[in-house]
């Protein structure tokens, strides 16, 4: 439904939408192709080439356009490789949390009763922890690895999605068109899939978009506390976190991934806003 709508409306999109779409597209393409063109090997370091400013020629003759980091790796390569990790962490987290949230939200919103009771209370209990603290506890106790970061972040986020979905399921559940399907004799499965689900997807999509951005920032925060993706896997978060000690001396380490992160998150935020605007009349229906 959504892509269809988008395609139909591309022509009338405001400039900031073009900017946001363009940015996200460029980054995704760069993330896919970049590492092929500028390969990054986390295990290959070159101590003599440490902390060189952007544009310096390295000992092996190549030019580090964005400079080198504290072990002499090319920042450009690290940023391109990091994008993959960051986007993967964000996407997988959102997909996992979104799916769990969708399922839980549907169960709670549609069936209500004790299913709703259990799921909502569980959500309440979890929301009693500020989410970053929960992520810190989980990541801290599980130890740093990409999977653990995803687990920690997904665990803190499913509730958000579940709430969104539950809200829309609840709103739709008692709508007359659902009642009329019931009167017709439709089964729960049919009602869930054909009637409830389609109304829950747009708000879920909006929430997911926003969460992708926030998850990327959260991953950076975990890295800062040493609980993020391990150094063997470059990620924007960990590169920014490592570069923080050099903000005054070798600013370029944190600058490139930082700018990239901000750009992507802002673009995704703009897209989220537009999606929300676009889907509002839909949820009205």
């Amino acid at each position: 439904m959504m892509p269809l709508k988008l395609r139909g409306r591309t022509a009338g999109l405001p400039p900031r939408a073009h900017f946001a779409l363009g940015t996200v597209l460029v980054f995704v393409v760069a993330g896919v192709l970049g590492p092929l063109l500028v390969p990054f090997d986390a295990a290959a370091t070159s101590p003599p080439d440490r902390l060189l400013p952007p544009g310096t020629r390295l000992s092996d003759g190549a030019v580090a356009w964005l400079g080198t980091n504290q072990v002499g790796q090319d920042i450009l390569a690290a940023v391109l490789a990091g994008m993959r990790t960051s986007l993967t962490v964000a996407l997988v987290t959102v997909v996992v949390a979104g799916s769990v949230g969708l399922l839980m939200g549907l169960l709670a919103g549609y069936f209500g009763g004790w299913a709703d009771g259990v799921i909502s209370r569980l959500g309440d209990i979890q929301l009693a922890f500020p989410s970053l603290l929960l992520a810190i506890m989980l990541a801290g106790v599980l130890g740093p690895s990409m999977t653990n970061v995803i687990i920690a972040l997904a665990v803190t986020r499913w509730v958000i999605f579940a709430r969104v979905v539950r809200g829309s399921a609840l709103a739709v559940r008692d709508r007359e068109f659902v009642d009329s399907a019931r009167v017709m004799g439709a089964s729960h499965g049919r009602i869930l899939i054909h009637y409830i689900l389609p109304s829950c997807l747009p708000p879920l999509l909006v929430a997911a978009t926003v969460q992708i951005g926030l998850t990327m920032v959260a991953e950076a925060s975990l890295s800062f506390l040493g609980l993020g993706v391990p150094p063997s896997q470059a990620s924007w978060g960990s590169t920014i976190a490592q570069g923080r000690d050099y903000l005054a001396s070798a600013w370029w380490i944190a600058a490139a991934p930082g700018a990239a992160l901000a750009l992507v998150v802002v673009s995704i935020g703009i897209l989220g806003d537009l999606l929300r605007d676009a889907s509002d009349p839909m949820t009205e229906l």
Partner: protein, 308 residues
């Protein structure tokens, strides 16, 4: 109203119990052994076993859980092995600074957020509105530690007009509180903006106009009050976020808060403190949300009806 508060209290207690259980399970099921951390890497296995027994770590989990709950009823979380004091004391000592920081961050957020949000709403779709909207997105897009370090580099190292660490003065509070508030100023601003715009379309606004009320009366007495309702519910969540994001700000600005204590205690498997901290935060957070709900009921009288 009392029934409503009573029910919310019961719910809050349930939440606290659930939170305690989750923390308990998470800490014991996941890897890492405090006995080894205490004794260091050179301890013998008898020493380790002895200490584990002393810490009560070799009981079966349900027994440990029971002891734990019993302790909690006496407000006893056990001793912090790392700090040699009661875990609760260790935690309460750090709670104050965190609350001070969060409270100031809240003040910044609310003041700036409301200013920006209502300005943007009253000038919807103007350049200023767009600018506020984009900067609010940027504020949320930058990792908080990066913001903190940059502010510190600029104001403490570069301009040397503000201290970079907590020194007990108002000046020392400025940078950390602002760093904490920044991502949420934009967030709240957007919330206020949408709220105001939504309320402006309500029928009662039309009524107020038809009554001959001036624009100021309509905005400040009729609209803003109703905008507060959804915003106030968010403040509870916001406080939680301040406490959580406080971890990062506390590290950057050497603020002696509870978040840093938590991170340290997790790294050192100081279970007693981790549990105390999480319980205290949860209790604070839930209490706050309880207050917010009550306040909410006061601001929006319809709520009472639904729950009465």
């Amino acid at each position: 109203m009392t029934a409503f508060v009573g029910r919310r209290l019961a719910q809050a207690l349930l939440q606290i119990w659930g939170a305690i259980t989750i923390v308990f399970v998470a800490l014991r099921v996941l890897p890492g052994d405090p006995a080894e951390l205490i004794l260091g890497s050179q301890a013998t296995s008898e020493q380790l076993a002895g200490l584990r027994a002393q810490l009560g770590l070799d009981d079966p989990l349900p027994v440990q859980y029971l002891h734990h709950l019993q302790g909690l009823l006496r407000l006893d979380f056990g001793q912090s092995w790392r700090q040699g004091m009661s875990a609760l004391d260790a935690c309460l000592e750090r709670l104050g600074p965190t609350l001070v920081l969060s409270a100031w961050a809240m003040v910044f957020t609310v003041v700036l957020g409301f200013l920006a949000g209502s300005y943007a709403a009253r000038h919807a779709n103007s350049v200023a509105d767009r600018l506020i909207s984009v900067s609010s997105l940027v504020g949320q897009a930058l990792p908080p530690f990066w913001i903190g370090i940059m502010l510190s580099l600029i104001f403490a190292r570069g301009l040397q007009i503000l201290p970079s660490t907590a020194d007990g003065t108002m000046a020392g509070l400025l940078l950390p509180a602002f760093t904490l508030a920044l991502p949420f100023v934009g967030w709240l601003g957007r919330l206020v903006r949408t709220g105001v715009l939504e309320e402006m379309n309500q029928d009662y606004v039309r009524t107020a106009r038809a009554k001959g009320m001036s624009d100021g009366v309509v905005f400040y007495i009729h609209v803003l009050r109703n905008t507060l309702v959804p915003v106030v519910t968010m403040l509870g969540l916001l406080m939680g976020n301040f406490i959580a994001n406080g971890v990062i700000v506390e590290v950057v600005f050497a603020w002696p808060g509870i978040g840093r204590l938590l991170v340290d205690s997790i790294t050192f498997r100081d279970y007693a403190v981790v549990e105390a901290v999480l319980t205290v935060i949860t209790v604070c957070y839930i209490t706050l949300n309880l207050l917010v709900d009550v306040l909410y009921g006061y601001l929006d009288p319809r709520i009472q009806l639904e729950n009465a």
